[in-house]
Amino acid sequence: MSLTSPFDEVWGLSKGEAPREGFEPLARWFEETPASELTRRQQAAEAAFRSLGITFNVYGDEEAAERIIPFDIIPRVFSAKEWDNLSAGLEQRVRAINAFVEDCYGARRIIADGVVPADIVLGNSQFCIPAVGASPPHGIYAHIAGIDLIRTGPDEFFVLEDNARTPSGVSYMLENREAMLRLCPELFDLFPVRPVDAYPELLRDTLQSVAPPGSREPRCVLLTPGHHNSAFYEHSFLANNAGIELVEGRDLEVDDDIVWMRTIDGRVRVDVIYRRIDDAFLDPLVFRPDSMLGVTGIMAAYMAGNVTLVNAPGTGIADDKAIYSYMPDIVRYYTGEEAKLPNVETWRCREPQALQYTLDNLEKLVVKLVDGSGGYGMLVGPTASKAEIETFRAALKAEPARYIAQPTLALSTVPTITDKGIAPRHVDFRPFVLTGANGVTTVPGGLTRVALREGSLVVNSSQGGGTKDSFILAPEGGLS
């Protein structure tokens, strides 16, 4: 199925007739470079990723236990002006998310003021009861946020999802750039591309800035579930480049509400933990008792203020898609401004009218679990079979509050190398926003994910998606 002429990042709405203003050099580049040369470079990039071990695991897929994410060497380009608008919107949104999460675990003003219903927060499966009353340094909960953006037209950008738990993918932003610099250096002569390589340092500064008060030379670590986790490459890459220790749960111990790590010289105190494991596995005393990944007693150390957890436990409520639907209200409530980045129109199936509308229009809508991620548990109506639609209909009727519905949007496309030559493929974009004691920062870049199957709108790597480099141009650049 293909939607009526989606917006193309290079060709606009011209259907390949004429590039958008400023995109002429890029169009000339991929049209004039011989196809065999483009393919050769792409293969060289993928070979390099494989030998670096930049792989991810697909859950439930034994055969492909370690796959590399396909990489496409035609970049996606944002003009300086586009980026200015996006980054202002991102920073506003992340400020609001942090204020909202802090409020939910503290005074709950937003509920008292009737802006967001109480049950949608307090009854949320992501609401972390043991974190109620926490006071993390500077009131920051979502230190690292990945905001998924989509585009449907020249000036139409929308937030599709907020990822405030443990967003992944930033290593691809960095490694894709490395590959592009090596394989397509001429593109960097054509465009004034802003560098992304400061991210690891910014990450380290952010972590250090949120250390518990009084810790001099705070020791920061990255807590990984281990090397069998799908994102382990990223964990080790970030720890290495940020110059912090990469630890597993078994490397840490808690003694008298203080966290220590076991080293060859004895134990060493830990101040900040960038944890890449979910809340549920963090501490077997408080959450899942069968967790082998976490650290016994770490929540007590956190609540005592002796260690900072990044992101703080409980930020998952901001990822919830039912709460997402209130984000314009949440932004207005905490910042006093209208949201600069709009949401995608969303029907909350917990509301009877919205449920009825959804049931009546299933074949047109995208239906998602409020707490789903990774492209699992969603229905894309226009491409679904009759049977799939009926399965979803039954599920919706049984537990409407677990779902939201959105229109099927014509995601923008970017020219992409395919078996049949260069063809448009749908993309989304995940920039990464850091919040520390010194404010909110967005590195000029992000992860562009591309749905490699023709017409497909599902960009998740676990569902056959690939990635592209994302160029953000410097203001004096060729694009307006």
Binding site: Y233, S236, N240, G243, L246, E248, D251, R262, T263
Partner: protein, 313 residues
Amino acid sequence: MTMLSRTASNLYWIGRYMERAEFTTRLIEATIRLGSLSAHAESEQAWKSALAVVGAAGLSEGAGESFSAFTARRYLALSEGNTSSIRSCLFIARENARAARNVLTREVWEAINRAWLTIRDRTSPGGTQSTLNLVEDLKSVTRGFEGAIARMLRTEAYWFMRLGSMVERGDNTARLLDVKYYLLLPRGQQVGGALDRDQWQTLLQIVSGQTAYRLIYRQALKPWLVADLLVYRPELPRSLRAAADETVTLLSEFGSRSGRQGPADRLARRRLSRLEAGTVDDLMAVGLHETLQDYIDENATLDRAIAQQFRFP
């Protein structure tokens, strides 16, 4: 930054398993060569002794599939049931490398990953020529690994990997020499006869010692001189003495950084001074087999002392 105990143990085991993979590769190569020089029965004997070196003598008498050069090659190179097959060694080394990824250089990780990819999809050792091709590939990737770690910073990560290599190397050389003396010599063969000479050559080839022998002794192959070379000569990198030497040096690197020493340091120094003072006459007096067995046992004690001293999990 001080190193995690778990990471230290990952690095140590990378060193041990990469060394073991390389040793087994050389063992296979030399055994193929020996087999090609001799009659069928003797070739089979060569494979049996190769299995004895890796502690799998029982395999040749085991039930199930009948023993052959092919099954021996497959067991040594590829068997998943054999935790010391080259395939298993490279798998375990890579698992440890993945876990310790952030303290490895890109180059070291790539070398280990490449080594694993070389053997990952092999299901059969194929014919002799096919095995030899695999051996060539494996030698090249393990050389790549040695080169990559030689270019690392001289800090904990390097020291732990080398320490693992040295402990493993001593063990491998001792086993090799022990088997040669006590299991290899077929009854009825004249000592110094043609087969015997081939076997000595084979042994030297495994430890890259053929040229070394010629340079150092400048005379025909003599069993006791081969023993001298493999046990006492500091010039030969795969000798027990050289491995013991580097073990002491590596441990003292940690000591001079942390200002502390432990049981592993003392054990390693004691072993080295004994090897420094020893001569071939001592070997003859005590018995080579006894000396080598003592070395293997002491090496295992040292391995445990290292694990304790650095708090391996």
